[in-house]
């Protein structure tokens, strides 16, 4: 057996009320590329934050051995000092500074506090050669693409004499060429003796590059497999990722499916930060009245981007495609148009996009449908109170009164306020993005019941979710999205977690 550079044993990390990690073990051999796979929310990123000292020693239970020594990191500086560098999915570069300045940020090439620019730029150039980045070291970061920025991050890691490099979803934001180059670079680093841990949703990349893989599910280690001796395939990884039993966490529901309500065709959206990258690519969807449709996709697949670009162009640039409401083509230029056409979108990030946390429940509920309560611009605040009070009861919002401040409610009750807000606009199409994120099990059941009730009222519903069991338990039909493309459409009867995961991880041919 080869030597292990890293051994994490019995790691348990608890957030108030939730165990994010439970007795997780991870062993990484020296000089290998080790992949960590798991569904969204399985605990991969938390585990990496424990390792890199973002959650300092004492914040978690369990032990970390690095190069045979027991480690108690108090912060990122400690772990970097030991030779562990983590590159997060959202790059941590300063856009106005040059490549060289970013590489040596916090680690400046200086003599007595005075920066030696010649040495800075020369050494940056050498590091850039190692990662295959052909740019001038003095070029500002904002002038190079995301793919090259990723390389700068790796060069920065190399400047710190890294022994263990952790990459969190390194190719999620990259196009195919940049991804291929990055994977080649990782192979090169492995040959130089640098150990890599890579978190990825793209299973074809995992099977192509990794030497071994650890699968995490619901905050626990499921298994660690050697790619060669265990004959690991994508299907094998998927089976490990989803293998959990479905119990009755979902209220029974029989949909009465009616006419087509909304259809989009050839929907294409470009990223605002990289105008040459398609975030949504020729997507087509059909939603019918009374039907609950799911949209499954891994992180970065373009789910939220698809929904927001549809909802009044609140995301993306160069949006093209056709939208049909009740069979007639419509134009949605802004949020008001979307609301007027009977479309509602409840965001996955309710605190950022959904709620005014400093205001009370009734003001939040009326925020989108205020015009319905007003005559010639004057709001009838008694009517507002009455409507809010109705939702308070019908949605079972647990708060002393509708005058309670929304910021002090629990996640489940906040979500009920967001749903009330959109139901008040009397929508015909409801797009619910991660409607149960960050909500405990009991409140989830209530949200599912509300969704079923809305479908029974004849509304067309699109549920976006990272949790496959949720989609399987709730939806009549599920679309899968991968790299911005619709890769499949499966009915509830034929869908399994495995089949969905296969479609969700399907790369481009």
């Amino acid at each position: 057996m080869t030597e292990h550079i890293l051994r994490m044993s019995g790691i348990t990390k608890t957030f108030p009320g939730v165990k994010a990690l439970q007795d997780v073990n991870l062993s990484v051999r020296r000089g290998e590329i080790h992949a960590i796979c798991g569904e969204n929310g399985a605990g991969k990123s938390t585990l990496m934050k424990v390792l890199s000292g973002v959650y300092p020693h004492g914040d978690y239970e369990g032990e970390i051995y690095f190069e045979g020594k027991r480690c108690e990191f108090g912060g990122i500086r400690d772990s970097e000092h030991a030779g562990i560098v983590i590159i997060h999915q959202e790059l941590a570069l300063s856009p106005q500074l040059s490549i060289a300045e970013n590489i040596f940020l916090g680690n400046e090439r200086a003599k007595r506090g005075i920066i030696d620019w010649n040495r800075t730029n020369y050494e940056a150039g050498e590091l850039m050669k190692r990662v295959g980045l052909r740019e001038n070291p003095t070029t500002p970061i904002s002038d190079i693409g995301v793919g090259k920025q990723q390389l700068v991050e790796i060069a920065k890691a190399l400047s710190k004499e890294v022994k263990l490099l952790i990459l969190d979803e390194p190719t999620a934001a990259l196009n195919d060429d940049d991804s291929a180059h990055l994977l080649d670079l990782l192979r090169g680093l492995r040959d130089e003796g640098i150990t890599c841990v890579i978190i990825s949703h793209k299973l074809n990349e995992v099977t192509a590059i990794a030497d071994s893989v650890t699968i995490i599910r619901d905050g626990r280690t499921i298994e660690t497999l050697d790619m060669v001796t265990d004959h690991v395939t994508e299907d094998r990884i998927i089976a490990g990722m989803v293998g959990r039993a479905l119990d009755n966490r979902y209220p029974p529901h029989e949909s009465k499916i009616g006419e087509e309500a909304l259809r989009i065709e050839d929907w294409t959206v470009y990223s605002p930060s990289q105008p040459d990258r398609k975030v949504v690519d020729g997507a087509a969807l059909t939603l019918r009245r009374g039907e609950i449709v799911g949209l499954a996709g891994l992180m970065g697949a373009g789910r939220t981007e698809l929904a927001m670009s549809l909802f009044g162009r609140t995301y993306g640039v160069h949006i093209s495609g056709k939208v049909f409401k009740d069979g007639k083509p419509i134009e949605i230029r802004n949020v008001q148009d979307a609301i007027n056409h009977g479309i509602a979108y409840a965001s996955e990030d309710r605190k950022r996009y959904g709620l005014n946390l400093i205001q009370d429940i009734k003001t939040n509920i009326s925020a989108a449908g205020l015009k319905g309560l007003a005559r010639r611009g004057w709001v009838n605040d008694n009517e507002e109170y009455r409507v809010a009070e109705q939702f308070h009861k019908s949605m079972n919002i647990k708060a002393p009164s509708v005058n309670s401040v929304v910021g002090q409610l629990s996640g489940g009750n906040q979500q009920k306020v967001v749903l009330s807000k959109w139901i008040m606009t009397e929508p015909e199409v409801l797009i619910l993005d991660e409607p149960t994120r960050g909500i405990d099990v009991g409140a989830k059941y209530e949200i599912y019941t509300i969704i079923n009730r809305l479908a029974d009222e004849g509304k067309a519903i699109l549920v976006i979710s990272s949790e496959l069991p949720e989609l399987l338990g709730l939806c009549d039909r599920i679309y899968t999205l991968s790299e911005g493309r619709i890769t499949g459409e499966v009915s509830r009867q034929e869908a399994t977690q495995e089949s969905l995961m296969r479609l969700m991880t399907k790369g481009q041919e």
Partner: protein
């Protein structure tokens, strides 16, 4: 979209049961009082009592009350516009310069060019609106931070004022304009005797009684309508106690003014503006959208609020109110001068923040801003009555501003900690 983050997890952990706590609330014999929103009024009352004692009652003499109102009317008018801008999460540093340039324009039109005064007033208000539209365009549609745009405006409009006026003032203004700025209602109905208080203007007293009657009927109607909708209302005794207190304040103010020179016209104007803008802020779709934008800009956009248009119009509004203040200030001095309105923006901003506006936006009341402005006015006036030098007045005002905002931040932090 990270797989798991502490913020997401915490939410579920608090559970769905249990009533959320309301921090910053004090219970006084069954009567609950929100410190954060009513602290300002308590402070105002305390400051008045303090200076009444320190000045041996000189603070509340008829003439002094009238002086406080007339001398501070323009800052109070500016504070009304400023609070709306601050609620939306912006700031306006240019209002002092806009006061100067609109005052100068009014003077040029009326004095130099001999326009009839109503036409000149209208033209000045339109000019104020155009100035607001200019700044609103850069802020709302071009996307430059209001701090920068209005800092530039502060320089631009001061420069314009000095170009128009040169180094000297223009005056005098027509009598009607001076009356509006500095004058009082006539004794239309003569005087009546009030026993030991001496003679007082009957018309002013009647206006006061009408105002009290109006306040009580409006509040009663609101209360009954709420009851009709099944909302909980305060107990009848408390309601009447509040009404009696409000009536006593109005009556005291009106009697004192009636004993002096009747009602200042600017007080009438101010009352109309405060009433109108309070209703606009609380009861109209537009007003609600201002709060929505300041409370959470992204959520407002995603709820279909036309953010750019709302921001544009609150700056147009600020321009018009600055023009009103500009006319009144020039009219009171009877000439438009190149240094008019100097540092008014700071007084207006301070008034808004002392009056309970939040630094991050989304919170604030028109009445709060007026109270904030009056607190500063009373401190100014009271301290000069007891002969404090101006540097000490400035010192105290600075401390009051800092203390008011510190109090706001502190109550908010406590609210956050209890979550």
């Amino acid at each position: 979209m990270s797989s798991i983050s502490p913020a997401d997890v915490k939410v579920g952990a608090t559970g769905d049961g249990g009533a959320p706590r309301q921090p910053g609330k004090v219970s006084l014999g069954g009567m609950s009082l929100n410190l954060r929103s009513s602290g300002i009024y308590i402070a105002f009352a305390a400051i008045i009592v303090l200076f009444s004692v320190l000045t041996d009652g000189a603070l509340l003499t008829p003439q002094n009350i009238s002086n406080i109102i007339v001398q501070n009317s323009y800052v109070l008018i500016l504070a009304i516009g400023m609070i709306l801008i601050i609620i939306a999460g912006h700031i306006d540093l240019s209002v002092g310069s806009v006061v100067a340039v609109t005052g100068a324009l009014a003077a040029v039109l009326m004095v130099n060019m001999g326009w009839p005064w109503p036409l000149a007033l209208l033209a000045t208000l339109v000019a104020g609106a155009l100035i607001g539209a200019w700044q609103g365009y850069w802020i709302a549609y071009f996307g430059i931070p209001a701090f920068i745009v209005t800092l530039a405006g502060m320089l631009l409009f001061r420069a314009l004022t000095m170009t128009v006026l040169g180094n000297q003032g223009i005056g005098p203004f027509p009598d009607q304009v001076r009356t509006l700025a500095n004058g009082f209602t006539d004794g239309y109905l003569g005087n009546i005797g009030l026993g030991p208080l001496g003679g007082a203007d009957l018309f002013s007293l009647l206006i006061g009684i009408v105002a009290i009657a109006g306040m009580v009927t409006a509040q009663l109607r609101t209360r009954n309508a709420r009851k009709g909708y099944g909302q909980s209302v305060e107990p009848m005794a408390l309601f009447w106690l509040k009404m009696a207190a409000g009536a006593a304040i109005i009556l005291f103010l009106v009697v004192q003014l009636a004993r002096f020179k009747n009602l200042p016209w600017v007080l009438v104007l101010l009352a109309i503006l405060v009433l109108g803008y309070s209703m606009m802020a609380n009861r109209t779709v537009f007003g609600r959208q201002i709060y929505a934008i300041g409370g959470n800009l992204q959520a407002a956009i995603m709820s279909g609020v036309k953010v750019k248009s709302v921001v544009f119009w609150i700056f147009v509004n600020m321009g018009v109110l600055s023009a009103v203040a500009g006319i009144i200030f020039a009219g009171r001095l009877n000439q438009a001068g190149p240094t008019a309105g100097d540092s008014f923006e700071l007084d207006a901003i301070a008034a808004a923040f002392i009056g309970g506006a939040a630094v991050q936006g989304g919170v604030g009341k028109v009445v709060g801003a007026i109270t904030g402005g009056l607190i500063m006015a009373v401190i100014n006036n009271g301290m000069s009555l007891i002969g404090s030098p101006s540097e000490r007045v400035m010192l105290v005002k600075g401390i009051v501003l800092l203390a008011a905002v510190a109090f706001d931040v502190w109550t908010k932090r406590r609210a956050g900690a209890s979550r």
